[in-house]
């Protein structure tokens, strides 16, 4: 039986790595007595995997874990038990049974949705900036290749959507970008792009207190949350 968990990673937990997160779940699953299936062989380990890596320092309310059980247990039961043993800054927000034929979440993920705080100076020109950016067909960037040379890539197709919102009087940017094995747009690259368009110096993306909102699939240009896909009916 396969389970999909959506969880948050906030506060001090922003600073733990992918592997640290895996280990945290391994221990939590044992504390909560969740019957996780073990792999075969010399060094048996629990069968769980995280859907997508998250850069250290970035908080999230939309991380996903793919879990295989050796015994049946209701998804809601798993959610309650885990929340009972996890720290406050790591909450299981949703738990669903996955369709047995669903691909691994790691292979399926295509898009990430982030919320970024914009520098105060950009709040006025924000809407115009974004509209103008989205109008472009070509947003070039020089990336260094593995061999050390430079290659030009077009970032525009990797930007699915940009929208502005205000939260408690502060301007926030909601950005839905491609973070798949085909193309991976980095947050720093997005920030560099915005800075360039605004005619100002770029800033370290962590200054924007990035928060990952969700992971999803690209459904003909529209973002579709992982939570909606692959669930067992």
């Amino acid at each position: 039986m396969r389970i999909m968990l959506r969880f948050s990673k906030e506060g001090p937990l922003r600073w733990i790595s992918h592997l640290d997160t895996m280990r945290t779940f391994q221990k939590a699953l044992r504390r909560a007595a969740i019957p996780v299936a073990l792999s075969q062989g010399f060094n048996p380990h629990q069968k769980l995997s995280l859907a997508a890596p998250l850069s250290v320092g970035v908080a999230s309310r939309g991380e996903y874990l793919d879990l295989e059980l050796k015994q049946e247990m209701a998804a809601e039961e798993i959610r309650t038990r885990l929340n009972g043993v996890l720290p406050a800054e790591m909450r299981i927000l949703a738990a669903k049974e996955l369709d047995g034929k669903a691909p691994s979440l790691m292979a399926a993920v295509q898009l990430s949705r982030y919320r970024l705080r914009l520098p105060a100076e950009l709040s006025a020109e924000g809407p115009m900036l974004i509209a103008e950016l989205l109008q472009q067909e070509l947003l070039p960037l020089q990336r260094t290749t593995k061999k050390g040379g430079l290659s030009e890539v077009n970032l525009r197709p990797a930007i699915i959507d940009l929208a502005l919102a205000a939260e408690e009087g502060e301007p926030f940017l909601s950005a839905t970008i491609e973070t798949s094995s085909q193309f991976f747009l980095r947050l720093q690259e997005l920030v560099d792009l915005l800075a360039e368009r605004a005619g100002r110096e770029t800033w370290p993306y962590l200054e924007s207190e990035p928060l990952r909102i969700d992971l999803g699939l690209n459904d003909q240009g529209r973002f579709r949350s992982l939570l909606e896909c692959f669930a067992q009916n």
Binding site: I16, T24, Q26, K27, N43, V56, V85, E89, L206
Partner: protein
């Protein structure tokens, strides 16, 4: 929970921000009007080291179990964090509440070894606390040290207010209770508190004593300045472990640390009587926990942690009288769930190897054994009761059981050592290689030999003798390196001799060295136990600036009737017995473990009304 005051970008600039943000599972943040006392357990080393230290976790839970007390934590900041703190003007604070160290009632440091002194000073400074005890006024915390280093804290006596010698499980709550009582009665005053505190067994207040030196600059006496202070300061010894506090929800680190598994302390103490070993003195007699108690603890700990490995820990785990029964019970209960067992401190005999094999059925990581000396003569000198036949038998069992990776630990510079003893190390290693080949075991043997310079420790039979000169350590290391290079197939490593030299200076040091510690810290000395951070030149300059010759301390030979700078601190055993053991070592006479019936007269049982407590029958 108050968060770390550093910004996201600041934290992101650090090597491992997770060291400084807290939020771990089983962390306790106690706020509220009922909290009368707040203590910060400040570990004078990196997070990864401190979070591997079981003693600190026990104290954390112990103090937090008192309804009116709160314990928080702080670890030595790495150089990048120190720079950030100094540049931003922020004070070093606790992980739980980001309170600066200066805001606590007690700041407690665990002294595991001598090379953490500069980290201790650095943490006080970064935490807003005046370094010298006599500079701290009423509003400042009380700085207390514990751990094995508390048995000779003289080189840093000037910087601390109290030391706790021995088991903290009873002594620390008593100390904290005294503080609370005085505060509640409105009668708290720093000096009055210290006067009453020094009456608690195990508590040492350095300011109540003054060191006296003679005309030649040798230590002459420790004068008692305060009526309430005792001479000697007695050690705190817990007689019964089953009644003692034990951890049930230890702190779980998120990041990788050195030791990350359930730790079961089988017993405290060790009576093997190895003459170089300070721990064997400071923790005797042997007090075992019952298997029932240990099984109960294991269950609780697994429930609260979710670990998949249990480590059986003690100074010499193999001596636990109910070891086989315990291992069988643990494996019966947990093997199916995939929970593994790890054994530390293997003894060099076939029984131990068989047991280790039982436990490591699936995967065999490397085996570590410590013969310590290469010849029978030297092993008898240090009372490591082990003969060549036993060693070879044990190692052959290991090979037959499937171990192909072996690490051997030895010391050089032991009393009475000469080059033939060094040859003994090489010959032993060679015989092990030959034995492996003879047994025709599959695969290649990975044999490594690690050698460390002997550091004479206070409160041991070897406390009167000095370390061999640095140049001689170098010569012996080179000699061994040469010989092992000729042998081939053996990986040889030797511990940095300059670090060992510095350890030797401080381990039998006196109060005059505090100026050097301060000077070295001022010159940027930090994390001296870390190769990448240790700069011998800084220390040499510090010694020169204070007009002190470090070799005079490291190599000092004390006459057996000379007063020692740590005589006023009682380790539990009688000085006369240490002297007796020293004399026996010169004659190459051994002393058996007292568990087999013959009391050697060390005095701890008689003087402290304690005794060896075994969970089962003592077998040979």
């Amino acid at each position: 929970m108050k968060t770390c005051p550093l910004s996201t970008v600041q934290l992101a600039s650090l090597e491992k921000p997770a060291r400084y943000v807290g939020g771990e599972v089983n962390m306790q943040c106690k706020e509220g009007p009922e909290i009368a006392l707040r203590m910060v357990l400040a570990f004078p080393d990196l997070y990864e080291i401190g979070m591997s230290h079981t003693g600190s976790k026990i104290l954390y839970e112990l103090v937090n179990s008192l309804p009116w007390a709160a314990a928080e934590r702080c670890y030595a900041p790495w150089s990048d964090m120190e720079k950030l703190l100094r540049e931003s003007g922020q004070l070093l604070g606790s992980l739980e509440s980001a309170r600066p160290l200066a805001a606590f009632d007690f700041v407690g440091f665990s002294l595991q070894y001598e090379l953490c002194y500069t980290n201790l000073l650095n943490m006080l400074d970064l935490g807003g606390i005046p370094l010298r005890s006599n500079e701290r006024g009423e509003g400042m915390p009380l700085v207390i040290v514990g751990g094995p280093g508390a048995f000779n804290p003289e080189p840093i006596a000037e910087f601390i207010d109290l030391a706790l010698l021995g088991d903290a499980e009873e002594a620390l709550p008593r100390l904290l209770q005294l503080y609370r009582d005085l505060k509640q009665a409105g009668r708290y005053e720093r000096q009055e508190f210290l006067r009453q505190a020094c009456r608690i067994p195990g508590i040492y207040v350095p300011s109540f004593y003054q060191a006296q030196y003679d005309g030649e600059g040798a230590f002459a006496a420790m004068n008692v300045l305060e009526e309430a202070a005792s001479l000697p300061v007695r050690r705190a010894i817990l007689s019964d472990f089953d009644q003692a506090f034990s951890c049930s929800q230890p702190l779980l680190p998120y990041i990788e640390v050195v030791h990350d598994r359930v730790v079961l302390e089988l017993f405290r103490g060790c009576n093997n009587g190895c003459r170089f070993c300070q721990a064997g003195i400071l923790y005797r007699p042997v007090r075992e926990r019952s298997p029932e108690d240990l099984l109960r603890q294991a269950e609780t700990l697994l429930q609260h942690t979710g670990y998949d490995e249990i480590s059986l820990t003690s100074l010499s785990s193999m001596d636990y009288t109910q070891l086989e029964e315990l291992i069988d019970a643990l494996m019966e209960r947990y093997a199916e769930q995939g929970i593994g067992l790890a054994l530390s401190s293997l003894r060099m005999d076939t029984f131990s190897i068989d047991l280790a094999e039982k436990v490591q059925k699936v995967r065999k990581s490397g085996l570590t054994l410590a013969p310590e000396a290469g010849t029978q003569k030297l092993r008898d000198v240090i009372n490591k009761n082990l003969n060549e036949e036993q060693i070879m038998e044990a190692i052959e069992s290991a090979f037959k059981a499937g171990w192909s990776s072996l690490k051997l630990y030895f010391m050089i510079g032991l009393p009475g050592e000469d080059d033939s003893d060094l040859d003994g190390i090489v010959d032993l290693a060679q015989r092990i290689l030959q034995s492996y080949r003879r047994l025709k075991v599959k695969g290649k043997l990975r044999l490594s030999v690690s050698v460390a310079p002997f550091v004479p420790k206070p409160h041991t039979p070897f406390q009167w003798g000095g370390q061999i000169p640095l140049a001689e350590i170098d010569r012996r290391q080179q000699y061994l390196r040469q010989r092992f290079r000729q042998l081939r197939g053996i990986d040889f490593s030797s511990h940095d001799r300059q670090t060992s030299f510095l350890e030797a200076v401080f381990s039998r040091g006196d109060r005059r060295l505090s100026a050097v510690v301060l000077e070295a810290w001022r010159r940027g000395a930090r994390f001296d136990g870390w190769t990448e951070c240790f700069h011998f030149a800084r220390w040499q300059e510090a010694f020169a600036a204070c007009a002190i010759d470090p070799a005079a301390y490291a190599e000092r030979e004390y006459a057996t009737d000379a007063p020692l700078p740590w005589d006023h601190l009682d380790s539990g055993v009688r000085k006369s017995w240490l002297l007796q053991e020293r004399q026996k070592s010169v004659l190459q006479e051994t002393t058996p473990d007292c568990r087999y019936g013959t009391c050697g007269g060390c005095g701890v049982c008689m003087d402290y009304a304690v005794g060896n407590r075994f969970a089962g029958e003592v077998r040979r």
